[in-house]
């Protein structure tokens, strides 16, 4: 990559300021790094549009040589807490064993901290490199001064500055001197050549690895502070509905129960911050609280969604997509071309509601203090949003709220919603004591922000020359915004840009349409969001098109992608949203798209002959700016048991910052996709979710997940893009297409039932 220092301005931090931001004070070099960034895909939901240009990350070198980096992103399994610091460490030639990572509290001074939308590495790669290179230069200048030599005779090697003569000085020794120097201007800074990277694009284990395998790592529920009591809440099965009466006599009779009281529910649509409320049970320990909750008797009231039936709703959506919807992208005349087509391929595709079910359920520790301030310890993806929500709920200033971010026992989007933390804060205030709020697995599965269920209809016309001439894609699903606003009647255009309006095929007649569907339960973003539904439908219909054209599915895909071009979606779609970045900065480049398709073909031994009951399927999808092609091998036995012996992913995510963690995301993404494809389904009857734990909300276990997953990188020096979400969308249709090859059965509805 061409060294290109960004416009970000580093600045020196005084010791006093630094102590204020919460790190251990010490003499040495302290720099603040401003990472101005645009907001994420959820900004439209949260009203956080203002870009914050403030110092986000701090880098400190202590006299002992220890380098402290403050990580401002939440760790939920992606390795981000490791990947970002190692970018800095690489440029500054640090010894990784001397690097200590400190988790930032939630504060606007760190800029946007919402760890979501697969964008952390993408946003911060360049500024963090510049920061690391700046520190290195200052240390070199300090050494050159000390030795009275020219700086060109010095270089940085593994935590030391080494002179041509062989003498050397450690970073710890130089830190204070370097700290007294002015910050070099940006044109003095040279970034490393990518060939010289020590950590970037190399394998670095995650920072918390040993703590995790020894059980020492601290997640939300592991936080211990004095005088802690445990709370659980009994909730109306219909989210947002109230209660007529309750009787807590049996519950309060249990030894160790402190209080049982009513927290007023917030009516639907309640948004993402509001507590669901219900009957709060506070006790000395978790088991007592759970038992007492079981002993509370409640007569629930009905709310506005008391008749919501997800099955009937799906049928209604499916009927709606049979007719033309609101046209959001149009080219030529698809209707006319379809009339003239010699073959028309069409199918409906249905995807149910899904729950996040992170391994660690939502939980939070809150301490409301006598002086009106509040301190939180919680596994949250978006600590600043939580801070605002807690401050608003308690009626205090944001500056009176401190959010400590623990490790996250996975999240998948669930833990970017502040509701559960707000509940903990309110209970702590009510009880006047520190509170640990536990959502049991039942709470988690019955009261999630569910993935939008979705019905689609796709119709593809092929002319007499075997050319695809028309594409009609209709989708209906309740919008995420419907959780916060009764005005949201159906898919927003931002949501349609996840797999419908960004359709990349070179087809002359196109109509992309949406149909309204109203949210009647809390809806939220789940890993890969609407790309799950749309990737499934498109990846599946394209396989049917290949079959109709009697073409190899990969050749068919290459043909549909067409000529090499950067697709100007802004000219095709009004208000096109390219994952909140400019399309010219991160274009949809069909050349790069075709490269991943070709690479997966080559690596997967595509086309090899397979025995009966085995199949190979292909699909490719671009989401979160990353191109992914996937081949799945499947084995289906006579009892219709499905095994996945092998998965190949070919990906283009720009420069792979931490390849091992990228591979891990793809291995995990395939397993996550296996859950959605084979197992998971949320049903709602009379406004209440019928599943309540992992015995009926099924997820992939070792026996269901792929046995092997290989990840092949397209090598280039493009800007890095996200990898947390992009694996899921192509995996599901590739699996379905493999099942078709193995069994002759077309899958058009998830989860797969053979």
């Amino acid at each position: 990559m061409k060294p290109n220092p960004s416009n970000n301005k580093l600045f020196k931090v005084s010791r006093r300021d630094f102590v204020k931001i919460g790190a251990l004070g010490s003499t040495g070099l302290i720099l603040g790094i401003p990472l101005g960034c645009k907001q994420d895909k959820n900004a439209f939901l949260t009203g956080r549009e203002d870009a914050v240009f403030a110092p986000n990350v701090y880098i400190t070198i202590l006299g002992t040589g220890e380098v402290q980096l403050i990580a401002h992103r939440s760790e939920m399994g992606t390795g981000i807490r490791t990947s970002l610091p190692l970018v800095m460490a690489d440029e500054m030639e640090a010894d990784w064993t001397k690097v200590k990572i400190i988790q930032a509290i939630g504060d606007v001074k760190y800029g946007d901290q919402n760890t979501d939308g697969s964008y952390s590495v993408r946003m911060f790669y360049q500024p963090l490199r510049v920061a690391g290179a700046t520190v290195k230069l200052m240390l070199m200048q300090a050494a050159a001064q000390e030795w009275q030599v020219d700086i060109s005779e010095c270089k940085a090697v593994n935590h030391e500055i080494v002179h041509n003569s062989g003498k050397s000085l450690g970073y710890g020794y130089l830190a204070e001197k370097a700290g007294a120097l002015p910050i070099p201007s940006e044109n003095e800074i040279t970034l490393k050549d990518s060939r010289d990277f020590k950590f970037i694009s190399k394998e670095t284990v995650i920072y918390d690895l040993e703590d995790i395998v020894t059980g020492k790592a601290v997640y939300g529920l592991d936080v211990q502070i004095p005088d802690l009591k445990v709370a659980v809440i009994k909730r109306n099965p219909e989210a947002g509905a109230g209660m007529k009466s309750f009787n807590s006599d049996m519950a309060t009779a249990i030894e160790g129960v402190s209080k049982v009281y009513k927290m007023e529910p917030t009516a639907f649509p309640m948004g993402y911050n509001a507590p669901l409320g219900g009957i709060v049970v506070v006790a000395n320990n978790t088991w007592t609280a759970i038992k007492a909750r079981n002993a509370v008797e409640v007569v629930w009231d009905k709310g506005i969604n008391a008749s919501y039936d997800s099955n009937a709703f799906m049928q209604q959506m499916q009927r709606s997509v049979q007719k033309e919807g609101q046209i959001k992208r149009q080219l030529g005349s698809a209707t006319k071309a379809l009339k003239e087509a010699t073959k028309v391929i069409e199918s409906d595709f249905l995807v149910p509601h899904l729950a996040h079910s992170p391994m660690e359920t939502p939980c939070a520790v809150a301490r409301h203090n006598a002086d009106g301030t509040c301190e939180i310890w919680a596994p949250v993806q978006s600590p600043q949003w939580v801070r605002q929500a807690v401050a608003a709920a308690l009626g205090i200033e944001e500056s009176q709220v401190t959010i400590n971010v623990t490790l996250l026992g996975s999240a998948f989007g669930r833990k970017s919603k502040p509701d559960f933390v707000v509940e903990a804060a309110l209970i702590s205030k009510e009880m006047n004591t520190p509170i640990k709020l536990l959502w049991t697995r039942e709470d988690d599965i019955q009261h999630d922000f569910y993935h939008s269920n979705c019905a689609q209809h796709i119709k593809v016309g092929i002319d007499k020359n075997n050319k695809v001439t028309s594409w009609v894609h209709r989708t209906a699903f309740p919008s995420i915004s419907g959780t916060a606003s009764a005005e949201a009647k159906g898919p927003s255009s931002d949501e349609l840009c996840m797999g419908v309006l960004d359709m990349p095929f070179e087809i002359e007649n196109v109509s992309c349409e949406s149909l309204d569907a109203i949210a009647q339960i809390r809806i939220g973003w789940l890993r890969s969001v609407h790309n799950i539904n749309h990737g499934f439908a498109i990846g599946s219909i394209v396989d049917q098109v290949a079959q109709a054209r009697e073409m190899d599915p990969i050749d068919n895909m290459l043909d549909l992608l067409g000529s090499d071009r950067k697709i100007d979606f802004t000219a095709l779609v009004e208000g096109f949203n390219n994952y909140n970045v400019k399309l010219e900065d991160y274009p949809c480049d069909t050349h790069r798209f075709k490269q991943v398709v070709q690479l997966v073909k080559e690596k997967s031994e595509w086309g090899k002959s397979l025995p009966k009951g085995k199949g190979m399927g292909f699909a490719a999808h671009r989401s979160f700016l990353t191109y992914v092609a996937c081949v799945v091998e499947v084995e289906v036995d006579d009892n219709n048991n499905i095994k996945i012996p092998m998965v190949h992913f070919a990906i283009d995510c720009g420069v792979p910052v931490n390849p091992d963690r990228i591979r891990a995301q793809f291995e995990g993404g395939a397993a996550f996709g296996a859950s959605l494809a084979l197992k998971s389904e949320i049903n709602v009857k009379n406004g209440a979710v019928t599943e309540d734990n992992f015995n009926n909300y099924l997820v992939a276990r070792m026996t269901d997940a792929p046995i092997n997953t290989a990840v092949h990188f397209v090598e280039n020096e493009e800007k890095p893009t996200g990898v947390g979400e992009p694996p899921v969308p192509p995996f599901i249709p590739a699996l379905c297409n493999a099942i078709f090859m193995a069994t002759g059965k077309r899958i058009t509805r998830l989860p797969i039932r053979l």
Binding site: E75, G77, T78, G79, V205, I206, D208, L209, E210, I212, V213, T214, G215, K216, Y219, L221, D222, V230, E255, G256, N285, T286, W287, T288, I290, K291, S357, P358, M359, E360, T361, L407, L408, G409, S410, A411, F412, L438, T440, R441, D660, A664, Q665, E667, G668, G669, A670, A671, N693, F694, N695, V699, A700, R701, M702, T703, A705, P706, I707, T709
Partner: protein, 157 residues
Amino acid sequence: MILPMEKFTLNINDQKVSIECAPDTPLLWALRDQLGLTGTKYGCGIAICGSCTVHMDGTAVRSCSLPISAINDKAITTIEGVGKDGLHPVQKAWIAENVPQCGFCQSGQIMSAIALLEQNGNPSDADIEQAMSGNICRCGTYIRIRSAIKNAATNKV
């Protein structure tokens, strides 16, 4: 049913500890709330996710569904107790494979894996699947879990 508190003496990680709690208290919550051993995790509470796996006399058990009153003098080992002199070979194998993503399920996975290898030093793929299918990992680290177990079995670490 309201059960009065009782005193129990348990043998946990080779130490005798006394606690006072209701006899139906699951071991999981006694470990976490009363003994400060938070390496054992809650994931489902109904013995189907494996996050809370510990050993009772060397056998993997789900501590969320094991009442304190059923333990008596049996030896309990938790993730904090497996690597008495440094890391256990299975923990080392986990590090060598860089298994964890979020890490939350991994104490339970490691406890199940150790129990498996203690009974069967050379498990086949089917043995591994059978022993490990009670442990859910939502991050999907199954591939690496499988190879870490194989490496630990063949002393590759």
